[in-house]
Amino acid sequence: TATMGASQTRSEHKHQDLVDRTGFSLEQIKNLHKRFQQLSGNEETISKEHLDSIPALANNPIKKQIIEAFFDKRNQHQNEVGSFQEISFEQFLMVMSHFRPPTLKTTEEEREALRKEKLRFLFNMHDTDNDGTITLEEYRKVVEELLSKSGAIGLEAAKAIADAAMLEVASTNVPHMAPDDFYEGITFEHFEQILKGLEMESRMHIRFLDVDTSTMRCGKSTS
C-alpha cells in the first residue's frame, strides 16, 4: 500500500502538470486516464489496433481518419511531422484537448487561438501529406470514406461528388482562372474562410464529464 500511495501521488503530480498544459480539469483527466487504461489494457501506450478495436467505432465512416489523427505528430503542437506508432497518455490528452469547449472565462485571444487550433486539426485530417494544401486526391479520399459507408452512394458517385465539391471551391476561390492555370488545392486560409460560415469552433466540443461514466457503458468497453 505504501508503494501504491507513492505511485498515486506521482501520477497526481503528472496530472496536475497536464491540467496546466491541456486545460482539462483534474477530474476530467482522471476519467480520461481511466479510459486510456481501459483501452490500452493497462499499458503505458496505445497503438492503432487498440483504437481500432473499439466496437462503437466500427460503424463510423471516417474511423480511419480519426485514428490517424491521434497518431499524427502535427496535432501535438511541437512542430514535428510524421506519425507515431504508439502514443502515451499525454499525447492522447493533447489530441483530446482540441475538443475542449471554451468556458465563459476564456478571453477573446484564447478563443481565437482555440479556433485556429480546431481548424488546424480538421485541416490536418484532410491534408495527409502535409504539404499545406488539400489536393483533390486527398479530398477524394475523405469524401469516399464518408459517403461510401453510408450505403446509399457508390464509390464512383462519391468520387464525383468530391470532384464537384472541389470544382465549386475552385470556382469560388479563383473565379477567373486563366486557361493554363492549375488549381493546386485548398490552403489553410481558404479552408478557414470556407468554414467560417459553419462556425466549427463553436460546435467542435465534446462534453468531458467530471463523473466517471466508464461503468455506464455496459457492453461498450473493450476488455
Binding site: R35, L147, A152, A157, F182, R207
Partner: protein, 733 residues
C-alpha cells in the same frame, strides 16, 4: 378533469348573458326560416331577401374577407411594416373595425369565442409550426427548451399569482373578491408565452437560430404546463380551499406528466399514421394533401377529447411526419401541402389578431382596477426577466455553448402573451370567479401591451444590442460535407473517450431511424434518393450541365463535332487533374439512335478527354448560325431553370423557401427534351410530323441544325440520366 371544450358549450347553450356569436348555427335560425315558409304569403315572390337563411356562413365569410382585406391594406406599405410588426398593425386595425361596429351598434355580430379560437383558428397555426420546425435544431436544444417551458412557466405562474395576492392583502387593489387560488389560476393562464405572437414578431426580426428556437420551442411546449395548471387550479377553485390536501396536489403533478407525455405520444402516433398513409397513396395523389390536414386536425381533437395537451399533440404530429411525407409524396403534393399550410396559418393568424383588436369593444369587460392591471403588467415583465436569467445561469453550467447575456435579454423581452391567454381567460366560469371580467380585461391589456409595444420595439432593440442574426447564405457542397465529417468526428471522439454524449445519442437515433423507421414509413424509391449530399450533388450536376451549355453557346454558337479525339475545354478551365472528374457527367451513351447516324460515342475516364464539343459542317451552319444561336439560347433559357439556391432554414410566415425540389428541374428538363426529341425523331423517320415542322427545304436546314442541337441536348440529358441512374443503381437495386 375538465377539458376546454366543455366549459364553453355549457356556457353557450345554457346561459346567454354574453352576446353569442352568430358564427355557430343555432336552432332558432332554422326554425325561423321554416316559420317564414309557413307564414301566409299573398302572392308568389319573385325575389326575396333571405338574410336569416345565410346569416351564419355569410358572416363567417365576411369576417374572413375583412381580415384578408386588412392584411392587404397593411402590406401595401413595406415602410410601415418594417417598423411596426404586422401583428401590431392588425390589432390596431381591429380597434378601428371595432369602433366601426360599435358605432353601427352591431356588437352582436361578433365575438371571438374560445371555441372558435381553439378549434378553428389555432390548430392550423400550430400544425404549420410543427411541420416547418427544424427538427435537428429543436432536439439538440431540447433540454434547454424544456427547462424554460416547464420550470419557467411554473415560476411565472406562481410568482405572479403570489405577488398579486400579496398586494391584494396589502390593500393595493382595493375591494376585490379574489382569493389566493383564483390569483394562482389567473397567474397560470397569463404566464404562458404565446406561439402565435412569437412567430409574428420574430418573423420580422431574424435573430440567430438558437435564440429563435429557444423562444419558439418554449412557446410551443409550455402548453403542456399551461393546460395542467389551468385545469388543476380551476378544479381547486371549484373544490374550494378546504378540500385541497397533499393527495390532490400529487394528483396535479401526475396529471402534468400524463398530459404532457400523453399529448406528445399521441401526436407522434398520428404522425406515424400520416407517414404510413402517404406511403400508400400513390394512386390518389390528388387528395394526398387532404390526409395530412385531416389527420393533423384529428390529432388535435383527439388530444382535446382525452384532456391531453392538444398543442403538443399537433406539434409532434407535424414534426414527426415532415420528413416522411416530404419523401413519400409527389412533388406537387408536397408543394400543395406547404402552400396550403401557409395559407391557412397565415389567414388564421390574421383573423386572430384582428379579432383580438375587435374584442376590445365588449363593454362587459370594461372593468378597470388600476392596481390589478398595472401590477400585473409590471410583475409579468419583471418575473419573466428574473426567470430567464436565473434559468439560463443554471443551464449555462451544463450547456456546451453558453447562452450570452444579450440573447437572454432578447429571450426575456420576447416572452409575448397572446391569444391563447385571452382564450383561456374567456373560458373562466364567472359563477365561480366573480371578477372574470376584470381578468379578461387585464388579459387583453397585457396582450395588447406585449404584442404592440414589445413587438414594435423588438427590432430596434435587436439592432441596438447587436444580437447575432441568422445567416442567410447559400450552403456550399463542401460545407455540407464538412458538416457530415464533423458530426462523425464528434461521435468518434465521444466513443474513444468513453463518454455518452449528445452526439452519441443522436448517432444512435439516426441508425435506428434509418434501419427501422425509414424502412417502414418511406417508399423504397424515396429511400434511395434521400441522401442529402447526393441530392445536392445531383443539383450541381445539372447546374454544371446548364452552365456548360451556356458556355458553349457563348463561345459563338453551339458547335458540334462528331470528333472523338478533340480536347475538352474543361481542361483549360479547371485544370488537368479535375478534367478526369467531368467524364462522370459525360458517360457512355449507347447507340440507340443508330438509325439516325447522329449518335456520338464518348470515351470515358480512361482516355484523357471525352469529346464534348460537337460541330456541324461549317457550310450548313454559316448563314443560319446567328438566328439559330439566338433561338437555341432562348429555348434553353426558357426551358431550363437556373440553378436553385439552397437557403438555410429561416422560419417565416409569408415568405417561405423558394427552394423547390431539384427533381422538378430534372423532370422539366427531361420532359422538354423528350418532346423535342419526339418531334425530331418523327420528322426524321418520315412518320407524320408534328405541325410545326414542315417539309420546306429552308426549314430542313433548321431541322438539321435542330438535330445536332438535339443531339447535344439529348446527350446531356442522357448523361445526366445515366450519371443519376448509375448512382441510383449503385445503391444496389
Amino acid at each position: 378533469m375538465k377539458c376546454r371544450y366543455w366549459v364553453t358549450t355549457v356556457n353557450g347553450n345554457v346561459v346567454r348573458t354574453d352576446p353569442e356569436p352568430r358564427l355557430q348555427p343555432s336552432e332558432s335560425n332554422l326554425s325561423r326560416t321554416q316559420h317564414d315558409h309557413g307564414s301566409s304569403i299573398t302572392g308568389i315572390p319573385i325575389v326575396t331577401f333571405k338574410w336569416p337563411h345565410v346569416e351564419d356562413p355569410y358572416l363567417v365569410a365576411l369576417w374572413i374577407l375583412v381580415a384578408g382585406l386588412s392584411k392587404m391594406v397593411i402590406e401595401a406599405n413595406h415602410h410601415v411594416t418594417n417598423i411596426i410588426p404586422e401583428s401590431a398593425l392588425l390589432i390596431c386595425f381591429g380597434f378601428i373595425l371595432g369602433g366601426i361596429i360599435w358605432g353601427a351598434d352591431k356588437v352582436q355580430t361578433f365575438k371571438l369565442t374560445p371555441t372558435v379560437f381553439f378549434f378553428y383558428l389555432l390548430p392550423q397555426i400550430i400544425l404549420d409550426a410543427g411541420y416547418s420546425m427544424p427538427n435537428k435544431l429543436f432536439f439538440s436544444n431540447m433540454g434547454a427548451i424544456l427547462v424554460y417551458a416547464v420550470i419557467g412557466t411554473c415560476w411565472n405562474a406562481a410568482s405572479l399569482g403570489l405577488s398579486l395576492w400579496g398586494c391584494h392583502m396589502g390593500g393595493a387593489m382595493g375591494d376585490l373578491d379574489i382569493g389566493l387560488l383564483q390569483y394562482l389560476l389567473f397567474g397560470s393562464l397569463i404566464s404562458a408565452v404565446d406561439p402565435v405572437a412569437v412567430i409574428a414578431v420574430f418573423e420580422q426580426v431574424h435573430v440567430n437560430e438558437v435564440l429563435f428556437i429557444m423562444v419558439f420551442g418554449e412557446s410551443l411546449l409550455n402548453d403542456g404546463v399551461t393546460v395542467v395548471l389551468f385545469n388543476v387550479f380551476d378544479a381547486f377553485v371549484s373544490l374550494g380551499g378546504s378540500k385541497i390536501n397533499a393527495v390532490e396536489i400529487i394528483k396535479g403533478i401526475i396529471s402534468f406528466f400524463v398530459v404532457a407525455f400523453g399529448g406528445s405520444l399521441l401526436g407522434f402516433v398520428f404522425g406515424l399514421l400520416i407517414s404510413l398513409l402517404t406511403r400508400c397513396t400513390k394512386n390518389i395523389q390528388i387528395i394526398e394533401p387532404g390526409f395530412i390536414f385531416v389527420l393533423g386536425y384529428l390529432s388535435y381533437l383527439t388530444a382535446e377529447m382525452l384532456s391531453l395537451s392538444a398543442i403538443l399533440s399537433i406539434v409532434f404530429c407535424g414534426m414527426c411526419c415532415q420528413k416522411y411525407i416530404n419523401a413519400n409524396m409527389d412533388e406537387s403534393s408536397v408543394n400543395t401541402v406547404r402552400y396550403v399550410m401557409k395559407v391557412l396559418a397565415n389567414g388564421s393568424e390574421t383573423i386572430v389578431f384582428v379579432f383580438l383588436g375587435i374584442s376590445a369593444i365588449d363593454k362587459a369587460i370594461w372593468v378597470w382596477n388600476t392596481g390589478f392591471i398595472l401590477l400585473t403588467l409590471l410583475f409579468i415583465f419583471v418575473y419573466r426577466i428574473i426567470g430567464v436569467f436565473i434559468l439560463t445561469w443554471i443551464l449555462n453550467k451544463f450547456r456546451l455553448v453558453p447562452l450570452e447575456v444579450i440573447d437572454q435579454v432578447i429571450m426575456s423581452y420576447g416572452g409575448l402573451r397572446g391569444a391563447v391567454a385571452y382564450g383561456l381567460a374567456t373560458m373562466l366560469d364567472d359563477k365561480k370567479i366573480k371578477e372574470k371580467n376584470l381578468m379578461v380585461c387585464t388579459t387583453l391589456i397585457v396582450v395588447y401591451f406585449t404584442v404592440i409595444l414589445q413587438g414594435v420595439t423588438m427590432k430596434p432593440l435587436v439592432t441596438w444590442l447587436k444580437v447575432k442574426r441568422a445567416a442567410a447564405n447559400e450552403v456550399t457542397l463542401i460545407e455540407k460535407q464538412q458538416n457530415k465529417v464533423f458530426d462523425h468526428m464528434l461521435v468518434a471522439i465521444e466513443d474513444i473517450s468513453g463518454q455518452i454524449g449528445h452526439n452519441y445519442m443522436r448517432d444512435k437515433w439516426n441508425h435506428f431511424e434509418e434501419k427501422w423507421m425509414s424502412k417502414l414509413l418511406m417508399k423504397p424509391s424515396a429511400r434511395k434518393n434521400r441522401d442529402y449530399i447526393f441530392s445536392v450533388f445531383h443539383q450541381l450536376n445539372l447546374k454544371d450541365a446548364m452552365s456548360y451549355v451556356a458556355e458553349g453557346e457563348r463561345r459563338g454558337s453551339l458547335e458540334f463535332i462528331r470528333n472523338e479525339t478533340s480536347l475538352v475545354d474543361f481542361k483549360k478551365k479547371f485544370g488537368a487533374e479535375l478534367s478526369e472528374a467531368i467524364p462522370d457527367i459525360m458517360a457512355d451513351t449507347s447507340d440507340d439512335y443508330g438509325a439516325t447516324s447522329c449518335s456520338i460515342q464518348f470515351h470515358t475516364r480512361k482516355h484523357p478527354v471525352p469529346s464534348v464539343s460537337l460541330e456541324m459542317h461549317e457550310q450548313t451552319m454559316k448563314g443560319i448560325r446567328e438566328t439559330e444561336d439566338i433561338n437555341t439560347h432562348h429555348l434553353l433559357q426558357q426551358h431550363l431553370y437556373k440553378g436553385r439556391k439552397q437557403h438555410r432554414h429561416r422560419y417565416s410566415r409569408s415568405h417561405f423557401d423558394v427552394n423547390k425540389d431539384e427533381n422538378e428541374v430534372q423532370e422539366i428538363f427531361q420532359r422538354t427534351m423528350r418532346s423535342r426529341l419526339e418531334s425530331f425523331k418523327s420528322a426524321k423517320m418520315g412518320v407524320a410530323p408534328p405541325k410545326h415542322i414542315t417539309k420546306h427545304p429552308k426549314k430542313d436546314h433548321q431541322q438539321k441544325v435542330k438535330a445536332s442541337e438535339f443531339i447535344m441536348l439529348d446527350n446531356l440529358q442522357h448523361s445526366i440520366n445515366i450519371s443519376f441512374f448509375q448512382c441510383c443503381h449503385a445503391t444496389g437495386t
